[in-house]
């Protein structure tokens, strides 16, 4: 009986996910045709959120870590690309640089990070994000400090929207593939029981590190694209809590560890956020706060129920 129910349930979920993928594909394909500035920005925000949510899900959903500093890589990618663009490099080189720098930072920080227990990992990632924000404020000769770094208007701007949606599609498909690959299975196994995974011969640290790098790379790339699209970076935005807590909420909201869950949540939350920001701009931190509180209170129910 229960197995029948779960089969029916998963079938409904699959149908829903097909619908969601179709809807977002239509949305994504329509983006290059958007000329209206507001709609263009909204669509771009949605792409950023989808990419961040799904790349976060590799760490948060599949591996089950609470990672509070995903925006660190977004910000690092953004600043790397902005600094290269500001010195007159081509956009393709700048984006490459963003990805390389983001992945190198992730690689370097993964050595100490995975020695921590999951709770301390969450704290340390939040600490790193805060540290990056302070550093980018203090290194004013490079980053422009708290006043921000603005880029000159560019000839390559028509490329940012298409590259954003190509990246998003790659991330969506990549997440789908990773989840069904050997790596995805290993991640899920580590999430369920680290001892078990170790006992069947999985190299836990290597697998975790791969997941970390795979989740950092799209975030850094998207940060680079964001820097070009917005043409203006401030520490409080690039390394702000929005780009770190948003993905956590989007991942945990519906069904962590699936492709459709973070995808649908990212699309939905972007729309809700947009409405809320335009109607009551002062309450946007509280919205995140209330969502986090709700998710935390649901967390144990969900565990004991499922």
């Amino acid at each position: 009986m229960t197995s029948f129910l779960s089969v029916a349930h998963s079938r409904a979920l699959r149908r829903l996910s097909l619908f969601a993928v179709g809807a977002s594909a239509i949305l994504v394909l329509s983006i290059p045709h958007l000329t209206n500035g507001y709609a263009r920005l909204l669509a771009f925000t949605m792409l950023v959120n989808i990419t961040l949510a799904l790349s976060y899900d590799v760490m948060g959903g599949l591996l089950g870590y609470l990672h509070l500093g995903h925006g660190l890589f977004f910000g690092i990618g953004g600043y790397a690309a902005a600094l290269a663009l500001g010195r007159g490099f081509h956009i393709s080189f700048s984006l490459l640089l963003a990805a390389v720098v983001g992945v190198s930072v992730a690689y370097a920080s993964s050595w100490p990070l995975f020695r921590f227990r999951a709770e301390v990992f969450a704290l340390v990632t939040l600490g790193l994000l805060y540290l990056a924000e302070r550093l980018s404020t203090s290194l004013a000769t490079w980053t422009g400090g708290a006043a921000g770094l603005s880029l000159p208007p560019d000839p390559a701007s028509p490329w940012t929207q298409p590259s954003a949606w190509v990246l998003t599609l790659v991330v969506v498909l990549g997440h789908y593939v990773i989840r069904r690959s050997r790596l995805g299975m290993e991640l899920i196994m580590i999430r369920e029981s680290e001892e078990m995974a170790e006992s069947v011969g999985i190299n836990i640290n290597r697998v975790k590190r791969r997941a970390f790098l795979l989740s950092a790379a799209p975030a850094a790339l998207m940060g680079g694209i964001y820097a070009r699209e917005i043409s203006f970076l401030v520490p409080s935005d690039a390394f702000g809590l929005d780009h770190s807590l948003g993905p956590v909420i989007m991942c945990l909201l519906l069904r962590p560890g699936t492709t459709w869950g973070p995808l649908v949540a990212a699309v939905g939350l972007t729309a809700i956020q947009d409405i809320l920001w335009t109607t009551m701009p002062r309450l946007h931190l509280s919205l995140y706060g209330a969502l986090l509180i709700g998710l935390g209170m649901m967390h144990t129910c969900r565990r004991s129920g499922g």
């Binding site: 020695r115 704290l123 302070r134 931190l285 706060g289 986090l292 935390g296």
Partner: protein, 296 residues
């Protein structure tokens, strides 16, 4: 830098360290008993600081009244918060409590931060020195600061005495040592945890009153302060309430000296980097002792 200004810096470092130590002591209390890493801890400090500033400006003898009332009120708010938000998840699964607790307290920190920003705007809070300065040779120390120094010592001693010599303090330590055994002899885990959370929030409010008297407070100070205090208890590596005290003092002195030498913006960067580096060398700092969080 001459000797006098160095000593002056040292003194103000010790005061900042005292604030860190009080914050960390409350956090350690929560962590020891509940296994709760409370990310909203510093937000209560900010809330108390702003409330104190308003009260002090509005009412005669506001500062004395504030020192009596605000920690109690904040403790009450802490109790309500615990019962409303954290009690349920804790009761459902005490062993799987850390992740929901992190989510809930982070959410709470954001809500409190915005609440303060809405109620008091983005202006800084600070309280002017009211007492006469005390002159010790060439060193000058305002009466406020001397009073705070004394209160910090008294408060730490009182906390220590409470934990060692009263029934409720013993319950708390018993629960921190071995939850199962404590439950068997009739200690209520939820009730004692609520008590620990209440006292921790009260202590955080007290630290807030000190902080606003010594320095200035902005609405966005909460989370960074909490992070520093959390790293402190992680680094100090023992679930004792007294251990973070010395760490807090050290951090305060370090941060103030760096601020004096290199400028304020580098102080918190270097402090945080130091804490993170220490943590890298002691990744299991918190969890090495047995009890509630035995390594499985």
């Amino acid at each position: 830098m001459d000797l006098v200004s160095f000593l002056q810096l040292l003194l103000s470092g010790i005061l900042l360290g005292g604030v860190y130590a009080l914050l960390a002591a409350g956090l350690a209390l929560c962590f020891g008993v509940l296994g709760l890493l409370n990310l909203a801890h510093g937000s209560f400090l900010v809330l108390a600081a702003y409330a104190y500033q308003t009260l002090q400006a509005a009412v005669p003898y506001g500062s004395a009244l504030g020192f009596l009332l605000i920690p109690c009120l904040c403790g009450l708010v802490g109790f309500v918060t615990f019962t409303a938000l954290l009690g349920g998840p804790y009761r459902r699964s005490p062993e799987d409590f850390l992740t929901p607790a992190l989510l809930i307290t982070l959410g709470l920190a954001l809500v409190l931060e915005e609440l303060v920003a809405i109620l008091w705007g983005h202006s800084m809070a600070g309280v002017e020195d009211r007492f006469f300065p005390i002159q010790l040779g060439q060193l000058s120390l305002s009466g406020n600061r001397a009073l705070i120094l004394i209160m910090m010592v008294v408060l730490s001693a009182a906390l220590h005495a409470w934990l060692k010599h009263t029934d409720s303090g013993r319950c708390l330590r018993a629960l921190a040592q071995d939850q199962l055994a404590a439950t068997v002899v009739g200690i209520s885990p939820v009730g004692t945890s609520a008590l620990a959370f209440t006292i921790a929030t009260g202590l955080s409010a007290m630290a807030g009153l000190f902080y606003v008297t010594l320095f200035t407070v902005t609405p966005h100070l909460g989370l960074p302060l909490t992070l520093k205090a959390l790293f402190l208890i992680v680094v100090s590596g023992r679930r004792s309430v007294v251990a973070p005290l010395s760490g807090g003092l050290l951090l305060g002195v370090l941060e103030t000296l760096i601020a004096g030498l290199m400028g304020a913006s580098w102080a918190s960067i270097i402090a945080l980097t130091t804490l993170l580096t220490c943590l890298c060398y002691r990744p299991d700092g918190l969890f090495t002792e047995g009890g509630l969080h035995k390594a499985h």
